[in-house]
Each structure stands twice: as C-alpha cells, then as structure tokens.
C-alpha cells in the first residue's frame, strides 16, 4: 500500500483496494447475445490484458465493468461485477460513485475541447462533485500529469486547450484526467490503437508505472503490447454466430509461451484474427 501526501494540505491518497472480479457476466444488445457467462478475476496492482479477434466481446466486457454498457439503450446484462467483494450492480450503489472508482480510457483520445490542459486534468473532480479539492488543485494537476508521464512536456502550457496536444499527449492527458479522481481500477479500451509507435511506447511506460497504484484492465489487439505491459492475460473468442467468451486465462508468460488451448496458441502466434 502506497500513500501520496500533498505537501500543501497534507492530503492523503490511499492506494489500497481495487480487486475486481466478474462473475458469470452475460451481455445482450437487444436480442443479440454478445457475451456468455464470462468470469474473470482481476487482482489488484496487476495489469490484465484482454486479447482476441475483433467482435469477440472484449470491449463490451470492459464496458460492463464500470457500467458504461448500459448507456446503449438496448443493452442488458446478467451476472455480477465485484469490486472489493461488493456487486457494483447491486441496488443502492450509486452509478456515479462506481464509475468514479473504476475509471476508463477510451480508444480515441477525447480531452474536453472546451477546457484547458489543467482544467481537463481536474475535470473529473469537478464533474464527479468531489469535495474540497480546490486548495490542492496545483498539486493534483502536477501529480496526475507526472503519473501519466506528461508533466515535463506540458508544464509550461497548462492553460492551452487540450486539443492543442498531439494524439499521444492527448491520450496521456486522458489518463491523467482519469487518475486525478483516484480510481482503484483503470479500464483501457485499446488506448494505443489511434497512436503512433513512439506515443504508444510512452503510454505503455505510463501503464507500467501506474500499476503500482491502480488495477489496470486493458483491451488490446497488439500481441506485443499485451506481452509487454500485462501480468495476466485473458483470451476472448466468439465463434461464428455464438456469443463471446473466455477461452483461456493465465499469466501472460504462460499464455504466450505455453498456451493450453490450441486456439489460443493459433491466435497469439498470429495464425488468425
């Protein structure tokens, strides 16, 4: 358990918790079932990579994990998602509180265009109605940007609009924005698919650094990326006309070097998908 302390106000940031577990998660869009009884444990302080061909339900699964799934009007689901042992879908759990604890970074960088870089970083605190953060504003901005590996590049241009940054910097700004609300889990939906190789490497470095503090679940199509950043790996597959599910879960090393299932072996060796 690590603790960050604000020098100005003695604000304490606690990095405990963050054990995420999906239990028998199924998901539908209308009558079309896209996920079938997926169970997966995502331990704290671990990067879990979700791999698999397109359309196998990885992104849907990820969106189930912080209740973004239900934003689609026809979307429904079954099963439970436990955060530190409690079902986030249980009655009485505020949806906004859940999403604050489980952050998300999207495929396309999406900083708020109407806000400056600094305002983007603290936007989550403002939006989620966190109390008493304003006295720590500068510290939060610096810490979050540093954790996202962006501080050095933008510290002199914090008042510029977020959209003035390059794609890779924008994505790291979005990571900083998510980290600022101090989530226990960070979900990343192909965060590098819109980025160039250099920016991709910077984001991967960022992921490795924040793993100490946050549970990370990342969807990726890039096998090398999964091998580089993750400790645990889950292979999703949806066969013709059936909902998606997990074929194999294991340590990243084991999945890539000695997969049990033939289909996993074929996929990680690039023979299909």
């Amino acid at each position: 358990m690590s603790v960050l302390l604000s020098p100005a106000t003695g604000r304490v940031t606690d990095f405990s918790g963050g054990v995420l577990s999906a239990q028998g998660v199924s998901a539908w869009f209308g009558s079309n079932k896209v996920l079938e009884r997926v169970s997966l444990d995502m331990p704290a302080k671990t990067v879990t990579a979700l791999i698999g061909p397109s359309g196998c339900g990885k992104s849907t699964f990820l969106r189930v994990l912080n209740r973004m799934h239900e934003l689609v009007p026809s979307a429904r689901l079954n099963g439970e998602v436990l955060l530190d042992g409690e079902d986030i879908y249980a009655t009485g759990h505020r949806i906004t509180a859940t999403r604050k604890r489980i952050g998300m970074v999207f495929q396309k960088p999406n900083p708020f265009p109407a806000m400056s870089i600094a305002d983007n970083v603290v936007s989550g605190l403002k939006l989620a109605g966190v109390k008493n953060w304003r006295s720590d504003r500068d510290w939060i901005i610096e810490t979050s940007l540093t954790r996202a590996g962006l501080w050095k590049e933008v510290k002199d241009r914090l008042k510029e609009p977020g959209s003035a940054l390059s794609g890779g910097q924008q994505q790291r700004l979005c990571i900083a924005r998510s980290l600022a609300v101090e989530p226990e889990v960070l979900l990343m939906d192909e965060p590098c698919s819109a980025l160039d190789p250099t920016s991709t490497r910077r984001v991967e470095e960022t992921i490795s650094e924040i793993r100490e503090q946050v549970t990370v679940v990342i969807v990726t199509h890039n096998m090398q990326q999964a091998a580089r950043v993750s400790q645990q790996c889950a292979f999703f597959l949806a066969e013709q006309g059936t909902p998606g599910g997990i074929v194999e879960v294991g340590d990243t090393e084991q999945i890539f070097q000695s997969p049990v299932d033939q289909r996993t072996a074929d996929y990680v060796n690039g023979r299909f998908g």
Partner: protein
C-alpha cells in the same frame, strides 16, 4: 529521447541539426495557371467589351447599363470558350467556361447581397441624419411631415420588448427540448423531434393568424405587444429547438462517455461538458434564430397593432415594431414617410448585422481565455 512530435512543433530547430545552413529554405511557388490561361482570359474580356460596345451602341436597339453588363458577360463566355478551343481539348474548354460561369454567378449573388444592404442604408440615410428619428415617436406626426419631426423610438422599443419576451419564452423551451432530445432521449423523444421538425414548416403568417384567432378573436384580448410576442414565439420555438438540436447532435458522443466514466452525473455532464463544448455553435444558432424573429414581419402584422406613440406596456394597447413600421411606412406612398421606412429598415438591418457580428465573434472564441 525526444518525442517525435517535437520536431513538427519546432521545425527550424530540428532542421538546424540535419541540414547545413547554406541559404534560407523557402517553399517554392507552384502555379497551376499557365500563360495560355491568362491570355485567353484577358483577351476574352477585352474582346467581349469591344464587341459588346459595338453591338450595343451601333447595331442593336438596346439601352441601359444592366443590359450592357449582361451582354458583356455572355460575350465574354463565348469568346473565352472560342479562344480556349484553339489550342486545348474540349475538356479544358468546358472546365474554363463552367469555372467562369460559376464564378460569375457567385459574384452576382454576393453583389445582390451587397446591393440589398447598401441600398437600404443609402435610402435610409436622410432619415438617419436626424437625431429626433431615434429619440421621438410618431405621435401627432402626419405622414407628410418633414423628417425633422417624429421618429421611430416607439418601434425600436416595441421590437426590443416583443423579441425580449419571445426570447424569454423560446430560449429555455427550445434549448431544453434540444437537451431532452439528445441527453435524455427515449422512444417518446422521437415523437417530439418529428413534431418540432414538422413545425419548422409552419409559415410565419400562419403562426400569426393562429395567435390572432386564439388571443384576439376568441379570447377578446386587444392587439398588444404580448400577442405579438406570442406570435413571434410560436414562429421561433421550432426554429430554435431544431437548430439547438442540430448543434447538440453533432457533439461527439465520446466526450459524454468520458465524462460519465469519470463518475459525473448526467446533469454535470450536460452542464460542464456538453454545453461548454457546443457553446459557440449553440450561441450562433440561437442568435440566428433571434435575428429571424426580429426581422419577421408577418406574425406582428396580424397581432400587435401599429401604434404611433410609445408604449412600453406589452399587456395593454397596441405596440409598434420595426418591421411593421417599415411595412406600413413604405405602403403609405408618401415620399417622406417612405424615407422614414428606409430609415427604420436601416436600423433593423443594423440590429441584425450587430447580432450577426456577435455570432462570428462567439464562433471565433477559443478555449482558455474565459
């Protein structure tokens, strides 16, 4: 290691290390226009002018500047086509002629816009030079009286009050509807959207007639500012709701998701992400809707009554407004009164121009300077 993108942001510094600095490296101009293009064009213009002059003054029984210009342009197109055809394939001939025709037509449209504005101001100028035109109303002034008597204060005040009430009604409802359609949604919202879109087809005179029938004929309320404001509101509400809806609809959905994923409530997302993001577009749409409401004559023609005195109470007695004043002034047939009408039209046009400049200003506003 340096981020790749730093190179792009600071090209000189980056280049300094790569290229030996011999002489400043300027981009070279690339021109797609050939000498043939230029000479054909100039030749056709000059030739057409000469031919036009010949035809117009010596051969054909025509007169008038307008006809001269039109004929010049037509002759120019013909000569331009002919000159091009000498040394070029037919595709190039068509390309040049169509290009010239399109440019000419576009110029004609902008010329018409220019004339409409200039004409109004030039004809309105005699009235605008009198200070009393802005500070007095028409009470006790006869249509034949000189411009040094009376003014349009009552119409300006009436316009401001009427549009003010209409804004107070339609802005919250229109923007609220757009927010409902885009941020709340549901099956019922499709009905609302269809109906709002349908009502944008409502001719403004029918909106006026509707309010006239309901308020004035059926409920027996006399012609007042509030009736005019109601008619303007009925006309403006669908326009405002629709344009706000269009603006909100193009807002990238990713930003909403990003905000919700941070733990924001829907309300906070709308207030702090959606509205600020579309603010300038929304303001532009709203102001254009307001400009439309200010300038529209037909709703007020039926509902407000045309007072000659200043009346700032929208609930009692008739209230004049700028478009209505212009309309009755130019129909009077009295030269002095028509001049007043043009003066009032200039004021109305200036009002619309100011509103329009505000929209451009808002649209250009960037983030960070708040």
């Amino acid at each position: 290691m340096t981020d790749q993108l730093d190179f792009r942001e600071n090209p000189q510094e980056a280049n300094a290390g790569i290229l030996p600095v011999a002489e400043p490296d300027h981009p070279r101009a690339t021109k797609s226009r050939t000498q043939d293009d230029l000479f054909s064009f100039v030749g056709a213009v000059a030739g057409a002018l000469a031919l036009d002059w010949l035809l117009y003054t010596k051969i054909l029984p025509f007169s008038g500047t307008l006809g001269f210009l039109v004929l010049w342009y037509c002759l120019f197109l013909a000569l331009f086509a002919g000159a091009t055809a000498v040394g070029n394939p037919s595709q190039v001939v068509v390309d040049r002629v169509v290009g010239a025709a399109i440019r000419g037509a576009a110029a004609l449209v902008f010329f018409a816009l220019f004339t409409s504005i200039m004409f109004t101001f030039v004809r309105g100028f005699p009235a605008l030079t009198h200070l009393n035109f802005f500070t007095k109303d028409m009470a006790g002034v006869r249509p034949t009286d000189a411009l040094s008597r009376g003014g349009i204060l009552h119409a300006v005040l009436g316009s401001v009050i009427e549009i003010g009430i209409a804004i107070a009604v339609t802005l919250p409802l229109g923007v609220g509807t757009a927010i409902y359609l885009n941020e709340v949604g549901g099956r019922f919202s499709k009905v609302v959207r269809t109906l709002v879109e349908a009502m944008t087809a409502l001719p403004s005179i029918v909106a006026g007639l509707f309010i006239y029938t309901i308020l004035i004929v059926m409920l027996g309320i006399s012609r007042t500012g509030i009736a005019a404001a109601a008619a303007i509101s009925v006309m403006m509400l669908p326009i405002i709701a629709r344009s706000a809806d269009v603006v909100l609809r193009v807002m990238p959905g990713g930003l909403r998701e990003a905000s919700l994923a941070l733990g924001a409530s829907k309300w906070q997302t709308v207030r702090q992400v959606v509205i600020p993001t579309v603010r300038s577009g929304l303001a532009t749409a709203l102001i254009l809707g307001i400009a439309r409401g200010v300038g529209e004559t037909s709703p007020v023609l039926l509902t407000s009554g045309a007072s000659t005195y200043t009346n700032v109470n929208p609930l009692q007695e008739p209230m004049n407004s700028l478009p209505l004043y212009v309309f009755s002034a130019v129909r009077s047939g009295e030269p002095e009164f028509i001049a007043r009408g043009f003066g009032a039209a200039s004021v109305l046009l200036a009002l619309v121009l100011i509103l329009f400049v505000i929209t451009r200003f808002l649209a250009r506003q960037k983030v960070g300077k708040r």
